[in-house]
């Protein structure tokens, strides 16, 4: 799962699969690269353009140590720090003057570079350089957008025009997630959703969080029976991508493929998420006869905290010594309402009970507590620290109002998917048939699922304790290191705000609203207002913007033609010393 998909040792964690996974996905075509007639085309570059669908022969199969992951390996290698540099050097930025005025940049060539940054990446860098999470964010801003950062070099001196925090859209996800749960609670179970996972608006109970791409990949490949349970909401990364592409292309009058969006994430599997066909412009672009046939991803490239350091190193930028202050001048985002939402810093602090993976479950629990003022929340630790069960009970009734749980880590996910397996009657012959408690039994309404033990701050792309040169007296193990990263994650506090320069906009802080509906420091009505504004101003249905779908990834084994597959599997099994 997540820890694995580093380009360094791709095939070692996910094991060689018995069967080839049939649909090796064809990637959405990359934006055509400007051909420079005088530039020697490197092999590296040829490879990067449109990876063809893989053809798998038996020879390949026998030579391969992980055919299931090979398609993923390609996807991951297409998104690296060098890919970021390549994109920056590919075309000049759209001139800032066009962005600043109100006429947009229609007809202008060039690209608009935008970035989004997850709080876990900031926490990882904060722990590494011993700074606060806010300052780590400023360092990232300086690298991506500042004059001493990426813009100081490269072919066109390009930097990133806008750098946004994925926390904003995470809050949108929280509000929508609480709604999704409320809907599923009020909905009668009579309309059982179909099993294909697609085209359903409300998931089956228990709703399982869908923000973790490692978990989604695993579920689609191995446990299709859980797909109807997955939350239909896009992850914060995907929401941010859709927001940036829709709003910017519409306001600036440019094509979505002129916007190049990199996302900074704690996890390699986010690259796989970014490659999903479901998260491209064909899902939201209004169809018009002259619309381009290519699909454009909402997130063009994902890099991790470690890759960000490599990015700086490759360009010879001294990352630790970049100014630890906000960018001095930023072009205002071309939509003031959304701009205010994206830059709101005041509602960022995270309660430590929320965990380090976005706090989806926490917000849903807080919403339920808000709806039932007399109720109390109790939590019970499961077999290990990565399983926690939450129960909300009202003072007036012994039966719980709401039950939910957190399942992190591969081993715990095993137990979750097993419990969700549809149980058939008389599983066992004879009178003891009902003895099986393994299947079907789950009274949770919501489960927050993450592939990494410890959650997202422990993502595979984060800086590890071994990467950091610590003085011997401060030596620590990975566990202690992780605590430090978690601390940084929770340290996003308002107190830091005092040295945020020029934040006079705080006066019209959206959280000073009068709605009085603050849940978990988030105002659902405010967030809903922003989302409605997003939908109406872009003319796209909100459901299209914020939801996605999942599909079973078919495996060939045991299907028609199974004999041949069995034979291939037998032969593949000879690797590793035979039986």
């Amino acid at each position: 799962m997540s820890a694995i998909l580093s380009a360094d040792d791709l095939n070692d964690f996910i094991s060689p699969g018995v069967a080839c996974i049939k649909p090796v996905e064809t990637l959405p075509k990359q934006a055509p690269e400007e051909i420079n007639a005088y530039e020697v085309t490197t092999e590296d570059k040829i490879h990067r353009e449109n990876a063809p669908p893989a053809q798998i022969s038996l020879t390949d199969c026998l030579a391969c140590s992980g055919c299931v992951t090979s398609a993923e390996a390609v996807l991951v290698s297409l998104q690296s720090h060098s890919e970021v540099l390549h994109a920056l050097d590919s075309q000049p930025s759209i001139a800032l003057s066009y962005l600043a005025n109100n006429h947009g940049a229609q007809g202008q060539d060039g690209k608009l570079f935008v970035a989004s940054v997850s709080p876990q990446v900031r926490a990882s860098l904060a722990a590494t350089y011993g700074v606060s999470e806010t300052r780590a964010g400023w360092m990232i801003d300086q690298l991506l957008g500042g004059p001493e950062g990426l813009a100081s070099g490269g072919k066109h001196g390009n930097g990133f025009t806008w750098i946004v925090d994925t926390n904003a859209m995470r809050e949108a996800n929280l509000v929508l997630g609480a709604e999704e749960v409320a809907e599923s609670m009020s909905r009668d179970t009579q309309s059982a959703p179909s099993d294909d996972g697609a085209s359903i608006t409300t998931p089956k109970k228990p709703i399982l969080s869908s923000a973790c791409p490692g978990w989604i990949c695993y579920a689609e490949k191995t446990h299709p029976h859980v797909l109807p349970h997955l939350s239909r909401l896009k992850s914060p990364q995907a929401l941010t991508g859709t927001l940036l592409k829709t709003v910017l292309s519409q306001r600036l009058n440019i094509r979505p493929d002129q916007i190049w969006h990199v996302s900074l994430m704690p996890c390699f599997d986010k690259k796989l998420e970014a490659s999903r066909e479901e998260l491209t412009d064909i899902y939201w672009r209004p169809s018009s006869p002259n619309s381009p046939t290519q699909t454009v991803r909402d997130v063009d490239c994902v890099i991790t905290a470690r890759e960000l350091i490599m990015l700086a190193d490759t360009r010879g930028i001294d990352f630790p010594n970049l100014p630890r202050r906000p960018l001095s001048s930023q072009i205002p985002f071309p939509d003031s309402t959304i701009s205010a939402f994206l830059s709101t810093k005041k509602h960022r602090p995270q309660a430590s009970e929320a965990g380090t993976s976005g706090g989806y479950l926490h917000h849903i629990l807080q919403t339920q507590l808000f709806l039932h003022p007399d109720s109390t929340l109790t939590s019970t630790r499961g077999r290990n620290a990565d399983v926690v069960e939450y129960t909300i009970t009202s003072s007036t009734s012994p039966t719980p109002i709401f039950k939910a749980a957190r399942y992190y880590g591969f081993r715990n996910i095993q137990n979750l998917v097993r419990k969700l397996k549809p149980v058939k009657k008389s599983r066992l012959p004879g009178g003891r048939g009902q003895a099986s408690k393994a299947g079907g039994g789950m009274d949770y309404t919501y489960v927050e699922v993450m592939a990494c033990p410890g959650g997202c701050t422990n993502g595979g792309g984060q800086i590890k304790v071994d990467d950091v040169a610590l003085k011997p007296e401060t030596a620590m193990n990975q566990k202690e290191w992780l605590n430090r990263v978690d601390e940084a994650y929770y340290s996003m506090t308002e107190s830091e705000g005092e040295d945020e320069e020029g934040d006079s906009k705080m006066a019209d802080d959206p959280l000073d609203n009068e709605a009085g509906d603050l849940v978990n420091r988030i105002s659902p009505s405010y967030v809903k207002g922003i989302l409605d504004h997003w939908a109406s101003s872009t003319g796209i249905d909100l459901q299209k913007l914020v939801t996605t779908s999942y599909r079973k990834v078919e495996s060939d084994i045991g299907r028609v033609g199974g004999a041949e597959n069995e034979r291939v599997a037998e032969l593949a099994g000879k690797l590793g010393g035979g039986w």
Binding site: P16, L428, G430, G577
Partner: protein
């Protein structure tokens, strides 16, 4: 060469068809019942009686590909539980109420994991019932093992992972660990007889040890040394049995003390044709001092190669077993079955000891194979070890010292006491196990006779007696 083996006193044709793959044995016979389980590439598991050597039941239809491994759950009364691991990547749990009726009753139990809910109208109280399928491995399951207490089940697979399952309720298993440190196909798992410590052997040439620390299972030791695939790991029984006599009681006591401190030893066999014995270096008792800044909570284990068994096999060694009485049996690609015994070392003998047979085939191979071996013992000296010279009298003169281990620090030595070539004709022997003899004397008494059971690629299960 005279052989102490009686000719196979019984052979059970497993399947008339030629095998693509191999029938294999359950590692154990159930403690209370004289049963033997074998599994096969024909996707079946067959249960035989060890009192009558007849087929009792055949479990078919559950697994979609070869069944590679099976294991009896220990510590049960009134019911037998069998775990099976298959190349179809699944693990099955099967149950049967024990009955006194162990007469031949070849009943076929059709079970289909997918269609298990249909067509099961008749239910035979006395037959094998499918209970649970454990899914999770991504490719062929190679070995399954129950912990001594029976509450944990370990499984391993070509997907390079070792899984640990806990039975949290009847037929309800939870995954409590997925251990992924091996870099190749994991061939075998085996539980320590007294502790919740698991050993695994892999295509990556390593043996790994696993233990739970707080609530996370992790690797606590890597046993490196084999030059090729480690096919099998086996633990010594709770109490060791060293043969022969030793003069000088303090040597024996010292050895026993050290054995006591280390606990049961671990045995591994490999494609490199060696069999190695590993011993734990007991941890120094940490003194409760005020200087307790140093973390003492480490669960790392320190294991060393204690010795190697005499080299006899000329092809990869697939299977080894350590008997209750302390003997070891090995078999493999050369079709040979070899039995070894640990004896108190004789003084002043070593290579010159005629009984040790330095000129035998075994030792030649050992030298040909012989890399420099490190002396893994501590600094104890080995004064005054005297025996009765009994080692020279073994039946076939095959006693062989372990080349490279003539160290005076070694109180004991392993000698070959029996050997038979071509046990399954020209076929490879894929598995070997010990069982108590139950067909005579009712299987009771202090001097319980031990049988050796082998399965070959010829599809035959053979039962051997040992006359030494």
């Amino acid at each position: 060469m005279p052989s102490p083996f009686s000719p196979p006193n019984i052979s059970l044709p497993l399947n008339p068809r030629p095998f693509l793959h191999l029938p294999r044995l359950a590692h154990s016979t159930p403690p209370t019942l004289p049963l033997l389980a074998t599994c096969s590439s024909d996707k079946t598991v067959r249960i035989y009686s060890l009192t009558t050597f007849t087929l009792l039941s055949t479990i078919t239809g559950g697994h979609k590909r070869s069944v590679r491994t099976c294991a009896w759950k220990p510590n049960l009364k009134g019911e037998s539980v069998l775990a099976t691991g298959s190349f179809d990547a699944s693990v099955g749990i099967w149950r049967r109420y024990d009955t006194d009726d162990l007469n031949p009753r070849p009943v076929v139990v059709p079970v289909d994991f997918d269609a298990r809910d249909e067509n099961i109208d008749e239910y035979d109280e006395e037959e094998w019932r499918f209970a649970v399928v454990l899914d999770g491995h991504e490719s062929e399951v190679k070995s399954v093992a129950w912990s001594t207490g029976g509450n944990l089940l370990a499984t391993c697979s070509r997907d390079k992972s070792v899984w640990i399952w806990e039975e949290v309720g009847e037929d309800d298993f939870e995954t409590i660990a997925v251990l992924q440190e091996h870099e190749g196909d994991v061939k075998c798992v085996a539980w320590h007889p007294e502790e919740e410590l698991l050993a695994s052997a892999s295509y990556d040439d390593d043996v790994r040890l696993w233990k739970e620390d707080v609530d996370d299972w992790g690797c606590v030791g890597v046993l490196r040394g084999h030059d090729s695939t480690v096919w099998c790991v086996q633990w010594e029984g709770a109490t060791p049995d060293v043969y022969g006599e030793v003069e000088g009681q303090e040597v024996k006591e010292k050895w026993m003390q050290r054995r006591e401190a280390s606990g049961p030893r671990l045995l591994s066999c490999s494609d490199d044709m060696s069999i190695r014995v590993w011993r734990r270096n007991p941890k120094e008792k940490v003194e409760q001092s005020r200087l307790s800044i140093i973390r003492t909570g480490s669960s790392e284990e320190d294991w060393v190669e204690e010795t190697r068994l005499p080299v006899v096999h000329s092809r990869p060694i697939y299977s080894i077993a350590w008997s209750k009485s302390g003997r070891i049996v090995s078999t493999g690609g050369d079709g040979a079955i070899v039995v070894y015994e640990e004896r108190w070392k004789q003084p002043n003998t070593n290579a010159e000891n005629p009984g040790v047979g330095a000129q035998t085939e075994g030792i030649d191979k050992g030298e040909a194979n012989g890399e420099p071996q490190t002396n893994t013992n501590g600094a104890e000296s080995m004064e005054g070890v005297i025996g009765e010279g009994d080692a020279t009298t073994d039946a076939n003169g095959q006693g062989v010292t372990n080349p490279g281990h003539e160290s005076p620090l070694q109180e004991t030595e392993w000698v070959v006491v029996a050997q038979i070539e071509g046990a399954h004709g020209v076929f490879e022997v894929n598995h070997v196990a010990w069982a108590a003899r139950r067909d005579k004397n009712g299987g009771v008494g202090p001097e319980q006779e031990e049988l050796i059971i082998t399965t070959g690629d010829d599809g035959v299960v053979k039962v051997w007696t040992l006359d030494i």
